[in-house]
């Protein structure tokens, strides 16, 4: 709703118009009130409270006291937090490559119409509708070395000499969780990317084909630029969700082996609800929030359409 200022040479109509536009603005505000209320109650107020808590020594049970920036100072020299952050970044890279890669491959496979295709689409999407906790519990059982599926399977296929506890060493444990996340979430990114693919008019591809463009060229010069926006959406969501990973590492690995898979949110959970230092946990949350905002801005810039810049 952009209002350009006009010279008030004719009095009456302008004031009328202003009245009208004022009323329109009020009505507009009224329409977005529910959304604003939701954002204020569930985002702005909790964010303000987190900020406020991060400036206090705030035990889960008991009395809080003001400490200023002490929590942030302590955070600077807290190796555990930076280690957790570094691990989270590694996981985010692995999970994002896996999720967007598999999501895009699936989207390319299921973009056309047809009954069989509809079946596959549904099949790929089904894991998305299970919760992270229940999916994790399923994989806890699948990866149990004594009563699960994977360890005996690998042994019977001759890939391992003996029954191996996949959760006991860092490499297999890390990849197991990453694969589980790709299995669970790839369908979601498939849908986002598929909607982008389907919005590309068929004539473009046809014209390129007539001009003799090969499949890779068609993807590189037609498909890729035209799905930039849904791709950016998928990428930003994927990075943000991966940076906030918690359930799968808590439930499947307990942060093990040897505390090597503690993510940033896991660390925040431990500080807040195991060590009961809510203030310190809040300070960590604020830092993580800043990092996420920075990451999202960088991604938006990188993926900005040329004409916007």
């Amino acid at each position: 709703m952009s209002l350009t200022y006009q010279q008030p040479d004719i009095k009456k109509p302008v004031s009328k118009r202003r009245k009208k536009s004022n009323r329109a603005q009020w009505i507009g505000l009224l329409y977005i009130m529910p959304a604003i209320a939701l954002v204020v109650v569930f985002f702005v107020i909790p964010l303000g409270m987190t900020m406020w808590m991060s400036l206090h020594k705030w035990p889960l049970l008991g009395v809080q006291s003001w400490v200023g920036l002490a929590n942030y100072e302590q955070l600077l020299s807290d190796n555990g937090f930076w280690q957790a952050l570094w691990f989270t970044i590694q996981y985010t890279v692995a999970a994002t490559v896996g999720l967007i890669g598999v999501g895009l491959a699936l989207a390319l496979m299921v973009q056309s119409q047809g009954r069989a295709i509809a079946f596959y689409r549904t099949a790929y999407f089904i894991p998305v509708v299970t919760g992270f906790a229940s999916a994790s519990l399923l994989w806890v059982w699948l990866s149990n070395v004594d009563s699960g599926l994977f360890s005996p399977l690998l042994q019977n296929l001759g890939l391992t000499d003996e029954r191996t506890n996949l959760l006991a060493t860092y490499g297999p444990a890390f990849w197991l969780v990453t694969i589980m996340v790709v299995w669970k979430m790839a369908g979601f990114y498939m849908v986002i990317l598929m909607s982008g693919l389907q919005s590309i008019p068929a004539d473009y591809q046809e014209a390129a084909r007539i001009d003799g463009a090969k499949a890779w060229q068609r993807f590189r010069y037609i498909t890729a630029p035209l799905i930039k926006r849904p791709f950016a959406l998928a990428l930003i969501m994927c990075v943000a969700l991966s940076m906030l990973a918690f359930d799968q590492f808590y439930i499947i690995l307990n942060g093990g082996p040897q505390n090597s898979t503690i993510t940033a949110v896991y660390k925040i959970f431990n500080e807040s609800f195991v060590s009961f230092r809510l203030g310190y946990g809040a300070a960590m949350s604020m830092v993580l929030l800043l990092i996420l905002v920075a990451l999202s801005i960088v991604q938006l810039r990188l993926l900005r359409d040329r004409e916007d810049s």
């Binding site: 009395v63 093990g256 195991v274």
Partner: protein, 416 residues
């Protein structure tokens, strides 16, 4: 706007909506999952009296403290709960619990209540927690597998060497049968079942009233070596290394495990859920005999904001009656009223008597940083034990223990 204000307004809201001091009260009650055998039966008996009503919620043992802390901060704490006695001092210290000294002292049998429980339930001469249920760590063995392996099914192991010997014999029975099981990645399970082995061999994990961590000791090293060798020689299922407590009970219940240190709670659960499993109960032995036990269990505590004292007092009195103590005893919890314990245990088999003895003579390693040091899934206690027991070479053990001791000490020092 603070959480406290929210809590106050929430409490006020309940005042307005529900008229207080009605004749029949309904109060909310939490218990950790270890009590899922006896508590529902006790609540059933209480509700059957028809006067008041208790609404029970069972909370997973590993989430109890967090859940209560959050509920208390958010103003939705239960009226009462049966709380792991280890946590009572820190909860009382932070002002979450109601002072129930007057009611406690008015009980005619107050002096015969479990002293170990009362010690942890008392702060500055005020009573915040009343003994509720006893749970002692004991060693369980599978009599059927003992028979199959040609061992005496009536004689459980009494030294570490015997554990090893019996475990080997049972392990030889087949690919799916194992000699021994412990939850190797569960701090709470290990402090419950592994520290008694240390205690019974003349050492401990804390000194100076919980102010000094003592992990790097000769006894600890040999206990680790004992476990490590059993793991290395395949007497323990591979899943133990990553079991964060989920299979603490279930693995032995599957019937494929020869020996496992668990707690008295398992007796009731096994009898009720796996009536076909023939098992024996004995004390957790030290290296060369002697024995010890972790005397644990729950204290009954009341949230500071509750208005349902009448109903809660009635519930406590039922739990302390012979009927209540019998319900506890027959469902795997140990009675806490010394004067009628014998009557409560009457007619029960020797396994319960063994557990009660373990409870009476056991001890409770105590530290106010218990959650951080011991029970945390990522705390120094379980991280150290897991690294040491599943390490590749025996030479590493001492360094691992040294590092762990240092880390525990630094947490204790930082909190002081």
């Amino acid at each position: 706007m603070t959480i406290k204000n929210l809590a106050i307004s929430a409490t006020l809201a309940t005042f307005i909506v529900i008229p207080t001091a009605t004749l029949a009260d309904t109060f909310s009650l939490w218990v950790r999952s270890d009590g899922s055998e006896f508590m529902p039966k006790l609540v059933e008996a209480f509700n059957a009296q028809g006067e008041h009503e208790a609404r029970l919620q069972i909370v997973p043992v590993t989430e109890m403290v967090q859940k209560y802390g959050i509920a208390a901060a958010g103003g939705s704490a239960p009226d009462a709960l049966s709380l792991d006695l280890i946590y009572v001092p820190s909860f009382a210290n932070s002002g979450q619990l109601k002072d129930i000294t007057e009611f406690s002292k008015s009980l005619p049998y107050f002096d015969s209540l479990s002293q170990a429980h009362l010690e942890l339930g008392t702060l500055d001469n005020k009573i915040y927690g009343l003994p509720f249920s006893g749970d002692a760590s004991v060693l369980l063995w599978n009599k059927d597998l003992y028979r199959e392996a040609g061992l005496d099914p009536e004689a459980g192991p009494t030294t570490w060497a015997e554990i090893r010997e019996h475990a080997e014999a049972i392990n030889a029975l087949g690919d799916e049968t194992y000699g021994y099981y412990f939850s190797g990645n569960c701090g709470a399970c290990q402090v419950f079942t592994f520290t008694p082995m240390i205690k019974a061999s003349g050492s401990d994990i804390f000194a100076d009233n919980g102010q000094t961590a003592t992990l790097d000791t000769p006894v600890m090293r040999s206990a680790i070596e004992f476990y490590r060798n059993m793991v290395k020689d395949g007497l323990v299922p591979a899943g133990s290394q990553t079991d964060g407590g989920q299979n603490f009970f279930a693995t032995f219940a599957s019937g494929n495990i020869g020996i496992s240190p668990i707690g008295s709670f398992a007796i009731g659960a096994l009898n009720n859920q796996y009536p076909d499993l023939d098992f024996g109960v004995t004390f957790i032995p030290g290296q060369n005999g002697d024995w010890s036990s972790f005397a644990g269990g729950d204290n009954f505590v009341v949230s500071v904001g509750t208005e349902k004292m009448e109903a809660i007092e009635a519930f406590i009195e039922l739990a302390y009656s012979l009927e209540g103590q019998k319900i506890l005893a027959t469902n795997g919890a140990l009675p806490v009223r010394g004067d009628i314990a014998e009557d409560a245990l009457e007619g029960l088999d020797s396994r319960y008597i063994t557990s009660f003895k373990a409870m009476e003579n056991g001890s409770t390693p105590y530290s106010i940083y218990f959650n951080d040091l011991i029970n945390s899934r990522n705390g120094p206690w379980i991280t150290t034990l897991n690294r040491a027991i599943f390490s590749d070479s025996a030479e590493e053990i001492q360094n691992i223990l040294k590092d762990g001791e240092k880390e525990m000490q630094s947490i204790i020092d930082a909190a002081n």
